[in-house]
Structures are given as structure tokens and as C-alpha cells.
């Protein structure tokens, strides 16, 4: 919690001078299961990107490059929709992930 603002630092009346700052608001810690991307299986169809109800599929140069775990809620929709065989997205338990 060390990078969070104190009560003396938060903007008065919660008037936020930097709008659209949801990207800075880390909401990934609600998750109990998480998608793991297996790059070699990925066919770059972007279905996960289309279906993700958050904006947690990361892309670069028109390529899917992984999951934004700071915002992914672990809903599993991406893994469900992934058409690759074998799947390029697999859901695992957070407790088994060994990180985060």
C-alpha cells in the first residue's frame, strides 16, 4: 500500500484532475483463478481481446502479448473462447501460480 496517497494528499472532494485514470487503479487482486498464456499455441486470432470484459489482454504491434494481471479479474472468458488447439489460454488457481 506504500504508493497510495495519504488523506492529506488525496484531491479535495475527490475531484480528480487526471480523468480516465482507471488504468492506474489496480483491481487484479480480486481474482481467485487466472489465465496463463501459452505463446507457442497462440494463433493471434484476437478472440480473447474481443471477449475480455475488462481490457486485460495486452497487445503490441498488433500482436497479443500476454495478460495484464493488474486488471484481469480471472473470469475465464478468454480461456473459454480461445479457439487454438491446444488452447493458448489456461486457467489456473492463484494459489498454484506461485506468484502475485
Amino acid at each position: 500500500m506504500s504508493n497510495l496517497l495519504t488523506w492529506k494528499e488525496v484531491p479535495k472532494g475527490a475531484f480528480l484532475e487526471k480523468p480516465g485514470n482507471a488504468a492506474d487503479y489496480e483491481t487484479g487482486d480480486w481474482r481467485s483463478i487466472k489465465p496463463v498464456w501459452i505463446a507457442e499455441n497462440c494463433i493471434q486470432c484476437f478472440r480473447c481481446w474481443v471477449y475480455c470484459p475488462d481490457a486485460a489482454i495486452m497487445t503490441k504491434d498488433k500482436k497479443m502479448i500476454g495478460i495484464d494481471y493488474k486488471h484481469c479479474k480471472g473470469c475465464g472468458i478468454c480461456a473459454n473462447e480461445c479457439p487454438a488447439k491446444p488452447k493458448a489460454l489456461e486457467m489456473i488457481n492463484e494459489s498454484d501460480s506461485g506468484d502475485n
Binding site: 492529506k8 472532494g13 475527490a14 484532475e17 487526471k18
Partner: protein, 394 residues
Amino acid sequence: MQEKIALTGNEAMALAMKQINPDVVAAYPITPATEIVQIFSDYVSNGLVKTEFVTVESEHSAMSATLGASASGVRAMTATSSQGLAFMWEVLYIAASYQLPIVMPVVNRALSGPINIHGDHSDTMGARDSGWLQIYSENTQEAYDNLIQAVRIAEHPDVLLPTMVMMDGFIISHAMENLEILSDQDVQKFVGEFKHHRPALLDLDNPITVGPLALYDYYMEFKRQQAEAMRTCKPVILQVAQEYAELTGRKYGLYEGYKLDDADLAIVVLSSTAGTAKVVVDELREQGVKAGLLKLRVFRPFPYEELAQALSGRKAIAVLDRADGFSAFGGALFNEIRSAMYDVKDRPLIVDYIFGLGGRDVNLDHIRKVYADLAEIAKTGQAAQLVSYLGVRE
């Protein structure tokens, strides 16, 4: 230059609003506050104010529109009473948490049920912890003066909190009294131009977010900050009162002590009943009884240190609550006064009287009885009853 005229409380509030000349007023009528915005809407139609007047379909909308206007960076006001205030409830808290300097006259009236249109304090006492400043007025003059001062207090950069200014329904709102009024120019000069102390919603070049989500990681910091704003506004209230006294000769504080300094027996009360009690204090003083009165003007922020100091040294105190708390332990004013007195050395006995509910008359005999009870309490060192009802049929 001041002029002496006769006005009802509602007329005086409407006149003060005209002289403040707010940018936006969004309002919905409710007895006994209807006249305030009705008279004000005449000023709007006759071009006497620059105000954008928004007629809305409910008090919830009135407060929402006022909130939106205030957040957009202009001076915004509304007025209400009783059920209207209750219907604003949800938005009252939001206005306070956004720290918007909305100023609102509230004409105190009982809450339903049974349905009642007359004066008691159950409406604003219910809103006492909504985060608004609360200033209570004894008479028409005070209602007028308090409303003008409230604009300066609410908009002060150290405060930026919404403020409600009260007067008793019908007793003051519909009774005609003499008062001294300022010229429009003097009021305009006193309240000054509305200043932006932070970004506003309608600044398109610098977009902002108002009303964000803040969960367990931020909500508490915002609430702590809001509480601090309430804690730090006492000096501002006193500074504004000082400047107002220089302009008008009328002095205001956080409370008014009436023959209190050497009093043995003291009553603590809000609003118009203080006027009745002063008559009894004078009467008792003539008989050699050391009676005194504390009329609380600023209930929020609650000036507990000042009250403890003013009330220490009394032998017995009666708090008069014009709203029941249904806590089984008296009204809100009683609870807070008793709490404030806990740290006082040799603290006096303090009792509570619930009175005047739904406009029930409180007359000189009622107040005489309270002082007689206090004399007995001071003599015996004990109170027969901590909380009792004044003027109810037993």
C-alpha cells in the same frame, strides 16, 4: 447603510438570496419553505437577479441539480424543509463528500408521521451527520444575517463544505418581524465574486473526473479529509462573523450566552425558543435567581470545547431538544452537550427535555418549570429524571 423593515422569515431569506444573487437555484416547493423560492422566482422573472432558475420534479432532483451546478464551478443554492430535506438525503451526503459550497435555507418542520407541517427540528437533526455545516437562527434578523454569512463560510478555501441555515417553521418563517437589511451592493461586496478554488466540471480544456469510485484502499482517506475540513472551519466562521459585525454592528459567535457567565442554572437550546427563554431569564434575574441561557448557533461543526468552557461552573443544566432521538437516552443536542461536559472538572448535572414536537407550543410557563426543576436539582444534587417531555399530556 442599513434599512429597517418588517418581513417574515421566508421573505427575509428570499431577500438575502436575491442580494447574494447566485448563479443557479434549483428548487421544489414544500411547506413552510415554499415562499422562499416562490418569492425568489419573482425576482428571477422580474430580472432582478442573474440566476438560472431550474424548476425540478422533486427535492432529490433539486439537490442533484444544485450539486451538478456547484460542481460545474458556479454559486448554487436551493431551499427546503422536512420531507423535502428527507428526500434530498442521499444527495446531501454526496454534496458534502464532494466538498461543494452549496448554501441552503432550511425551514425546520417535523418529519412525518403522523403528517405535520409545523416546526420542530427532526428534519435537520436527522441530517446532522451528513457533512453539512448547520447554523440555527433565533429570529428573522438572524436568518437573514446567517444566510449571507453562510456563503462566505461555505466558499472559504479552508472550508468548501455545504451549509444549511435554519429557522423555525411558521414561528419564524411566517411571522413578521422588524429587521435591519443591507443594501444589495453591500451584500454583493460582502459575499464577493464566486471563486474557483479547484478545477471545475465544465472546463473543457482541463477535463476532470467528479464522483469517482474509491473502495477500501481510498474511501477512508477521502472521509478523513472531509472530517478535517469540518474540524478546521471554526476560525473561518468566527472571522466571517467579525467582518459581518464590522459591516452591520451585529455580532455572532458559535453560540450566544445570555446572562450565562455567572449563572447557576442554565438552559441550552436552539432557535426561536431561545427568545422565549430569555424572557424567563430576565424574570428570574429580577427575583435574584442566577438563571442563564446558551443558545447554540453553530451545531455543525459542534463546538464542544467552547461549549464545555461556557457551561463549566454551572450547577445544573437543562438541554432542550426539539427532536427526539429515539435512542432511549434523549435528543442529539443533550447527548453531545453531555459528552462535551464529560471532561469538565466538577461537571454539573445535565438533564434533557424533549419539547415542541410538531409545533407544540412552548410558553413561558414551560420554561419557568424547567428552571424550577434545575433549582431543585442544584439544591439536592440529583435529578429525578434524566430525560423527560415538556408539554406532553401524561
